[in-house]
Symmetry: C2
Subunit: 192 residues, 2 copies
């Protein structure tokens, strides 16, 4: 990754004075996005668009961030899938122009709704399936194994309770409602 600092050194006078600050901010956002499970460039591109007063072309983006046009195209496509970027057009211009969705809140919400919530639900289902499997096998066990399985069942139902509590929490988050994180603690303690 060409860091903002490295960029600064190699930048010649044809670069606008604000370029360095722009890249710093873009890189910071890129790190955040990468941490959050997206491609680094998605955060960088979104930020450049967000900081720009005008919609930008793919060419402008690839020059600003020193990316190949395919990298720009790929990241823009994914950003659009998340509604983080919109295509716009200009009369008389052939190229596509892109602009950033400016409501971070909308974006956060959408990601939690589409991605995190799904993941939690899959987890809940898997735990439920594992529990059922244990319940099914219980009768065929020796007393020793049965004690062992009973312990697993207790623990598994705690994990289930926790993940359901997580689902509720994220559901509230998405709905913009108050959240009490201690609900999680309560959920796990309730299952003795």
């Amino acid at each position: 990754m060409p860091s903002a600092a490295a960029k600064q050194v190699e930048s010649n006078s044809s670069e606008p004075l604000w370029r360095d600050a722009e890249l710093r901010a873009a890189d910071a956002m890129g790190r955040l996005m990468e941490f959050w499970g997206f491609r680094r460039h998605m955060g960088r591109i979104w930020t450049v668009l967000y900081l720009s007063p005008e919609p930008m072309t793919t060419l402008a983006l690839s020059e600003t961030l020193q990316l190949s046009s395919s990298a720009v195209s790929l990241s823009l496509a994914e950003l659009m899938r998340w509604g983080a970027v919109r295509k716009t057009w200009r009369p008389g211009e052939r190229k596509d122009f892109y602009e950033a969705e400016t409501s971070m809140w909308k974006l956060l919400r959408r990601v939690y709704e589409r991605r995190e919530l799904n993941l939690i639900r899959e987890t809940i289902e898997t735990f439920a399936a594992a529990q059922q499997q244990l319940d099914g096998s219980r009768s065929q066990l020796t007393p020793k194994d049965r004690r062992r399985v009973d312990h697993m069942r207790k623990r598994l139902s705690r994990l289930s309770a926790l993940s359901r509590a997580g689902e509720r929490l994220v559901g509230l988050l998405v709905a913009g409602q108050m959240i009490h994180p201690a609900d999680l603690r309560a959920a796990e303690e309730q299952e003795q």
Copy 2:
């Protein structure tokens, strides 16, 4: 990754009946942990320990999850760094035994506190630095460039306000207090 289903097929009768359910749950947790930025095996190992009534040795773990002993050692070391697993010993036994920290809430808290909060703070600092850089260059600009930079400054201060709101939110989460996600929206809207 050897999935729980694949494991089931190849498993011979020497495997305990509950092994398949155990691996399913472990894999589900592994996926969750991987999504959350940790190594997959950390989630798998933690789950096996969590489901076990007794502390386990590295050998037992590597047999259960079909991992090399170095992989187990590596993941256990990191789990211990996060306080998710503890070493215990048994009188007369030479080996180390490991047991899972059972309070998920404690663990979540610790990760948000040590890792996410740090990341947000670094981001806040980077945005602040970028803002300062813009402020410094403003006087040397042509009127056209100045308008451009002024737009960037407004957007950057919105990003700053957002990330500070994020910091507060995570801070409250860590403190176990109520959170109002709409604060984020408010933060971004306040900056006109």
